[in-house]
Assembly symmetry: none
Homo-oligomer: 409 residues x 2
């Protein structure tokens, strides 16, 4: 038996007046999800714990059975892994932006005009760089994004960032966040690195071209999200599942990669609201030929939430639903388990994550069907899974896969 695990980012919501006081998911016309709901088991998922608002990173660790309180050190390691950097335990990893700084040292564009080409070449400038015995690894991601890793002895992730998070200000100084030689050294290395980077980037051919075209220069690096790369459990070994990750966003690929999943690289796999959902679920279907466990991440729901757009979210959910026809029970020989949920709620009224639980449905061919007939927050509250914790989800999934690990004899 195989398992398709669909995570719609920020899926959970609150009643919306314009939607007859239903949530976007409840209001949406979702015949396929409703079929799984009516043939499956439903419940409300507290991804980390009741009353705890998850970040996307901690949420995904929890969904995969990894305790974020034990393993989460910061977002950097997962972003770096997502971009493809082979992080090692003990590395200090950061999220990085190519940014624009003017001659008065003011950040004028935190994303260097969302630069779309040439950042790979810019990253090449830092090849084989070493500062104070610390190896510097910089890898470009999509648009203005990059990941930075410091590799060496005596480093710490307890350092502040240089990103002021608003434009029109000077970058901040890196400061040790604790009084240790490791934190001091790391802040020092970062300070030197950013100075060197400014010079290297300013002199780069690409920036001369951008200047002549009147484009914002990619002449500075904003660095944040420090995290020491943890030794996370290996998902495949832990659960004896050949696992694949079908995702666009770097973070989700990064979590998958760090847990040892196979990352399916396909240029059609993007995050966001305009992603090619047909391609995404085609890839997921194909992955089920090879892998036991296919994690498929859809980002758009959360984007609509952050924009406070419940109608957009509702329609996007309908688009996702359309693509799920591939996985309906009639298309499989009783050998597919389907699990659909979100990583957290993002009510459109909050425009941000919340601690509200997310609906979850688990379908397997001979599961204990409950009376729920539609997929949604209020319906799931009446399902036979009750309220459950993210950390218990994988165990329940393994049970449906009949991969039972008996505790005791």
């Amino acid at each position: 038996m195989k398992l398709l695990f669909v995570v719609m980012d920020g899926l959970g919501d609150r009643p919306i007046k314009e939607l007859d006081n239903k949530t976007p998911l409840e209001y949406a016309n979702t015949p396929n999800m409703d079929k799984f709901a009516s043939l499956g088991m439903n419940g409300l998922l507290h991804v980390i714990a009741p009353g705890v608002t998850p970040g996307s990173d901690t949420a995904h660790l929890a969904l995969f059975g990894v305790d974020p309180y034990e393993y989460y050190t910061g977002r950097g390691p997962f972003e770096a892994a997502g971009i493809g950097l082979e992080v090692k335990q003990g590395d200090i990893a950061f999220r990085t932006n190519f940014a624009t700084i003017n001659t008065e040292d003011i950040i004028t564009d935190r994303r260097a005009g969302r630069i779309s080409e040439g950042t790979k070449e810019l990253a090449e400038l830092f090849k084989n760089m070493e500062i104070d015995g610390v190896e510097i690894l910089l890898v470009a991601g999509t648009e203005h994004r990059a990941a930075l890793v410091l590799r060496g002895d005596g480093l710490s992730d307890r350092v502040s960032e240089n990103d002021p998070h608003v434009e029109g200000q000077k970058p901040l100084e890196f400061k040790p966040l604790e009084d240790t030689p490791e934190a001091q050294k790391t802040a020092r290395v970062l300070t030197t690195f950013v100075m060197k980077a400014k010079t290297l980037l300013s002199n780069a051919e690409l920036n001369k071209n951008r200047e002549s075209q009147g484009l914002p220069l990619a002449n500075y690096l904003l660095i944040r999200g420090a995290g020491k790369v943890p030794q996370v459990p290996n998902f495949e070994e832990e659960y004896c599942l050949e696992s694949a990750c079908v995702a666009g966003g770097g973070l989700y690929k990064g979590v998958g990669r760090m847990l040892g999943m196979h990352i399916i690289e396909d240029s059609r796999l993007t995050g966001g609201t305009t992603t090619n959902l047909t391609a995404k679920f085609d890839v997921a279907l194909e992955a089920l030929q090879t892998y036991d466990f296919v994690f498929t991440h859809v980002k758009g729901t959360d984007n609509f939430s952050h924009d406070g757009n419940p109608v957009g979210k509702m329609k996007f959910i309908e688009k996702v639903d359309k693509e799920l026809y591939r996985f309906l029970p009639e298309n499989f020989k009783n050998d597919l388990v389907v699990m659909i949920t979100g990583d957290h709620s993002s009510p459109c009224s909050f425009k941000d994550h919340s601690a509200d639980p997310v609906p979850v449905v688990i379908y397997s061919p001979d599961c204990r069907v409950d009376k729920v007939e539609k997929f949604g927050e209020s319906y799931a509250a009446e399902g036979n899974l009750g309220h459950l914790l993210g950390k218990h989800l994988m165990g329940i999934a393994l049970n449906e896969l009949r991969l039972v690990h008996k505790f005791g004899a």
Copy 2:
């Protein structure tokens, strides 16, 4: 947004034959609580954990998100803080009664005839007392009640009490409950103190007057509930909420004070079954002008339970309900969250606390309304909060207040 948190002591109950097999809460006519139930989210709260019967002290710690297994050392510190004694971390605090002892050393009245006047003057007798380098602080409370604090080095709360808990017996000896110099020293200091107190009290002017009036003398101190004052988290700092405590009972004020809440002192705020509920909720409403979080405690429900009086409890609940009209959604501009529950169940058939969960309702203007229409034990069991733990309540409340602390990014 602000939050009103109403705790009815010992609210939860069991079906009562005379009440058509409903609980006092279910039987009571409570249109206001029912309105919150029908517009809000309902559930059953296990204040500490399923199957654990809370004390009033441990229950309130848990309701405020403070783990009683980590922080609770005994009732003394909270009673002392409630009376107004400025306890310090490491103090050993006790609940104390002024009592009557006869010439044969028999306790004839554990409450000195519920003495109502003059105990402040009696407590003055102990001013600046020191025994064995240990500072003695005695503060009188209401009626026969007082709080005792021992302050100094090398003390322990592992000592037995001298209260036999029945009349007609001699006081017990203080004994160390563990074989440590600290426990031995504390037992010794208490023994000396009680002997000195007996002499001082016997010679007091007040007792000479009481003798001539034929009143029981307040000539002895019964001491119990030893607890080392813990360093509890500061509620306001923990949750970034300016918080007020509206309560009559010393214990509840004590828990509030130790957690750093502002204690509203008003002579109309009393506990018990005859308390002025109109005044209590007037004070609570006024406090909402100033504070973000107003904890309002009502004691009477529990008193009726201890007396095994379900009809009295039912009618008292109706009186509380009447006063809640002030907080109905129509009187606020979508800026008040209301949370109503109990600190534990006290079934009238038990005449004591029980481990049965208590109903809880949380109303906020855009919460996920469930289908529950009345506030009560059996109705709450069908609410969308499901079963929840006391320790999760504050997180859920903060989420409704939109004071989101994201874990991760």
